[in-house]
């Protein structure tokens, strides 16, 4: 239902109209999830469903040869019909490997060309090698890929990646799998304020409040894997994350009150009887 544009919209938000658009495609969920680190495929399936996510990252790896051919595979539980798959270039430390991985992913998925680009620079922190990332992004965009790019929280690099034609820029909150939450909210805020493409926090989220904070900063969405898969109860955490992302987004759209140094009473002084 479209709101009547003649009326002020200040207090009326139809949250159902608040959709996420990436590369001209519309999504209802601002929570994106990875499919790794789960106990088994059943847990993967249940947690993914509980999260409400529509975009799911997958990794591209060698097929196990000699495996039982009836062994279920990831795409049996995360089907291309119900989800938008986002192949990643996890484990790539060079431009060449990342580009090669994306091309294989596109072939694997019958021409589906939305990819998550990550070019790592260091094994301990898994921080991105931003110069290699810029180079790989340039090649991939030219080759027709729709690139969602993992990067650090440097606003200059984020803007350069956008200018290269990436469809979304994804600054890390903290190292992949660290669960530390957003380390530098001011950088994320600067990136969001300067962006003309969706900014999604990717990596380092630990718990629901971290996700809410990302959304309150104005991020278009958030991508996480370990935060859900490594929780004691992943399916429950997936549900928590779904709500946190919605809550954070609504809080952002609602426009928070300003922070104040001192108190401001909520009850009137008039009518005091003592």
């Amino acid at each position: 239902m479209m709101a009547n544009l003649a009326e002020p919209l200040k207090n009326v938000i139809n949250i159902a109209d608040d959709t996420l658009i990436i590369a001209d495609k519309t999504y209802r969920s601002r929570l994106l999830v990875g499919s790794g680190k789960y106990k088994d495929l059943e847990e993967t399936r249940l947690a993914t469903e509980a999260s409400g996510a529509e975009i799911i990252t997958v990794a591209i790896r060698r097929t196990n040869i000699g495996q039982n051919p009836n062994e279920p595979s990831l795409l049996d539980v995360i089907s291309t019909e119900h989800y938008t798959l986002l192949p990643n270039t996890a484990g790539c430390y060079t431009v060449e490997d990342a580009v090669r991985t994306c091309r294989l992913a596109r072939e694997l998925l019958d021409g589906h060309d939305l990819v998550k680009l990550e070019v790592l620079g260091d094994e301990k922190t898994l921080f991105p090698d931003v110069t290699a990332t810029l180079e790989a992004a340039k090649i991939l965009v030219k080759d027709g890929f729709k690139v969602m790019v993992y990067t650090n929280d440097d606003p200059l690099i984020a803007k350069r990646l956008e200018e290269l034609g990436c469809v979304a820029v994804m600054p890390l909150a903290a190292p992949i799998g660290s669960g530390l939450g957003i380390r530098n909210p001011y950088n994320i805020l600067t990136i969001v304020e300067n962006a003309r493409v969706p900014i999604l926090v990717d990596a380092g989220v630990g718990t629901a409040s971290d996700a809410a904070i990302a959304m309150e900063l104005g991020c278009a969405g958030i991508l996480m894997n370990t935060a859900i898969a490594a929780a004691r109860n992943p399916v429950l955490m997936a549900s928590a994350m779904k709500k946190a992302v919605q809550a954070g987004r609504e809080a952002f759209l609602a426009g928070r009150m300003p922070r104040k140094r001192f108190a401001s009473a909520s009850s009137p002084i008039d009518g005091l009887f003592f």
């Binding site: 990794a59 097929t63 051919p69 595979s73 990831l74 090669r100 294989l104 694997l108 370990t226 898969a229």
Partner: protein, 66 residues
Amino acid sequence: MKIIINGELRELESGTSLENLVQLLDLQGKRLAIEVNQAIVPRSQFASFQLTEQDQVEIVHAIGGG
């Protein structure tokens, strides 16, 4: 002929096509992508693409990852 498949040396009959290979490895019907000597071979060409001695083949699929 000797072919390297996913890093492992294998002996195949000469004239084996990629389609033959997929069947030999029991991978028919699976969603996968194949590179031969670092060049992707589209699925539509599996039947016509013949492997030759020393070819390095990579067969990949999608798995869980973040």
